[in-house]
Amino acid sequence: MSSQIVEVGPAVSAGTSVLEVENLSVSFPRRGGDLKALTQVSFQVKPGEVVGLVGESGCGKSLTALSIAGLLPAQCRVEGSIRLRGKELTSLSPTDRRALGGQEIGMVFQDPLSALHPVLTIGDQLTEGPRRHFGLARTAARERALDMLHRVGIPQTRNLLDEYAHQLSGGMRQRVMIAMALMCEPRLVIADEPTTALDVTLQAQILELLRTTTMDVGASLVLITHDLGVVSQVCDDMVVMYAGQVVEAGPTSRVINESRHHYTAGLLGAVPLPGERRRRLQTIPGTVPQLDRMPTGCRFAPRCGSADEQCRTEPALEPTDVGTSAKCWHPLPPGRGLARVLESAVEPAAPRTDAVPREPLLSVRDLRREFKSGSVLRRKVVEAVKGVSFDIAPGETFGLVGESGSGKSTVARMVLRLIDATDGQIMFDGGDLRATRGRRLRQKRRDIQMVSQDPYGALNPRMTIGDLMIEPFRLHQLGEPSTWKSQSVAMLEEVGLSSSMLRRYPHQLSGGQRQRVAIARALAPKPKLIVADEAVSALDVSVQAQALNMMKDLQDRYQVAYLFISHDLSVVEYMSHQIGVMHLGELVEVGSPVEIYHHAQHPYTQKLLSAIPPVPWLNAK
């Protein structure tokens, strides 16, 4: 690896921090009082260190990043201090600050396609930083760019400089983003969810690349993520944020294994771990509070099981017995972190061994689907699903896992009869589903319901929850019209919502609540099968755990079968009795969770498994 351009900057004496954030508060002016989005955030990043900022959405992680980089909108009020290599940033003029930021701080954003300019070439975008800051000539800058692209793993044989972002693959784009952040050899790289928009098998690779290349140019890395696995994989230190505050911080392994804050422990317990199928996920009740309705005192208290009178006043972020710091009046006793979570896990129950193999509820045989594209002259036929076969037993869950573009959603849409299959057979409940049409099909739909990914889009935003809930009852004439309302309320209570929801509109609900309504609506006609396509993917970790637990409970109660689709192998494994792995339109492997996890046959399944951080975070650094 060529290193002539790596001139490790003036050595920062050991111990001094690259970045010191102290009592950082950010507020947005608003009619009727400012919205305080960050409150007294403090943390440090030492040279060569990787620090993870963790928390659910709405906790202020990205805002912290933007404040450090000086990219907040002008109307924001910033208080406190941000020091980069000892230099106070908050007192600089906006112009100086941005120029300094561009040289010393590199940014990597979540979605590389929208973060790269659509009509400027990659070369142009890579070189403009060093040309501006170091006065490099065009050719010199381009050489530097080529070298940097090489260092982020793009083969030298491929000259990307004259290409455009949309011509590259997702992984390639993120590599370009990383190269761009490193072009000026910054002292600090801030990566905001850098792998969230990528496919699972790419995530680990890109993450490792980000870490090594950053270290390579001598920069420290601040990694913002909601994914605890990611943190345990690469971060030396972690900072847990909740509702705009730091609630726990310290060396990653200690925070994870010896959590002292109830929120951190709750988050850890909410993530399904491979091989722990029978463990019931821990959940944190409620959701992250909104900025304009912050609880006084400890902000986590309303969701905390151990909250008492004292929690009405705000605790300080104080050192704990294990060298971390936590913002809690009643820190958890030793041994209550991840270790405890794993111990409390129930041993996997023996796989169900029914004497008589039951007749499958849904039987899919050699299902195919082609999509035609292109013009009349250049017709392209894309085979999205190439002969998929599987069975779902009544009351069981079949998990379908695969990356985007693997065809798993197409299978779901064919089973739901939202699109027609090109070929193959779908037998449902003893009838041929593909041959069912018109009124008969609409009646049949009662037995196959769906819960879709997007809890925002899945409910007509102009109807109240009450109207939405009554629809299935009216449509399928379930009971007397006079009972529809009470049935709706019963259904809502079943998913943990109260009748006060009836008059609200979908946008007044949180993501988790909306998903509950979608599940209640799907359950209302008492279907035999629910197709759940990425049903929990858009939810935050703690809310996702609530939804998964609830879906399992409802399955036990109503004996409903699920076709559960997700890109997340751990979630699928947690939910499913049988798992199918899809890759490029084919079902490459089908088996029980144990078989998939421990005896994966297909190379692609093995690749998927290896992308999950190695068995859990016990071996975190």
């Binding site: 947005f28 919205l35 989005a37 959405s57 709405g58 906790c59 202020g60 990205s62 805002l63 933007l66 990219l71 907040l72 909108p73 992250v288 509070p289 909104q290 900025l291 304009d292 849409r413 739901l416 939202l418 609409r442 009646q443 739909r445 009662r446 196959i448 319901q449 769906m450 879709s452 990914q453 997007d454 889009g457 899945a458 409910l459 007509n460 935003p461 102009r462 629809e471 299935p472 449509l475 399928h476 008059r503 609200r504 509109y505 946008h507 007044q508 609900l509 949180s510 993501g511 979608a518 609506r521 006609p525 197709v531």
Partner: protein, 298 residues
Amino acid sequence: MSLEVEGGGATSDPVADSPLAGRRKLRHVIADHPSMIAAGLMLLAIVVAVVLAPLIAHARPDQIVVTDRLKGPSGAHLFGTDNLGRDILARTLYGGRTSLEIGLVVALISVGGGTLIGLLVGFYEIVDMIVMRIVDGLMALPALVLAISMIGVLGAGTTTVVICLSIVYIPRVVRVIRGSVLIIRKSTFVDDERALGQSEPYILFRHVLPHCMSPVIVQASFIFSYAILAEAGLSFLGVGIPDSVPSWGNILTDARSYISTAWWMSIFPGLAIALTVLSLNVFGDGLRDMLDPRLKER
């Protein structure tokens, strides 16, 4: 730049958002859209003035007083008189009746027809293929050129003007409605409804149509204003409303020859058009901001 205040945007105060808090909401609308309210009041004033024309103007619009030819504005004739001694105020008010009527009718026909076609086109692909080619073809002609040539062949007259302008504007509405239907059709809740077992017409009218109502209302206000402008233009060019009926365009045709001697002949009717269209446009902008949350704050 835009920066979602994390957690602040998803849900807001349930009381303020609920349609039940009607009175409070109305107050907010007035406070947030002062220009729209002003424009609405101005429109109302114009409509009232035009309807009450006989009470405001002393003369009949077609009353010729040879001795009063080309008189400037005065107490007797607030807006002055024209080359035949007719009262410009009376002509402007009565002319407004014609112009507003035509604008309104054209807006109703094109928005009604365009919405229906747009819904069907956006929902059924086969209809889409055929209708959109026709729409493209119609839109490949500049609006006024298309209208003039149609009128040229069919003969001038109020009905022809209404028909021709509707044909000109329907394709525009179809495009807009089709656009929003295509977006809505992609949203998950339509799939959800279908999976639930709802029939296509039910989904189309109960779920898709209400979502198109904002663009429909906004389009109606804009087409109203385009139609007033177009009618005035056509009449001015002598291919619109017959000379015998006063309309804003016709009054200005007469004024053209006297531009250097009698400025009042063109100023007042022209201002009437501009004010009406301006109010409609401001009102339409306000409606769009209010009804389309995505465009808010823009």
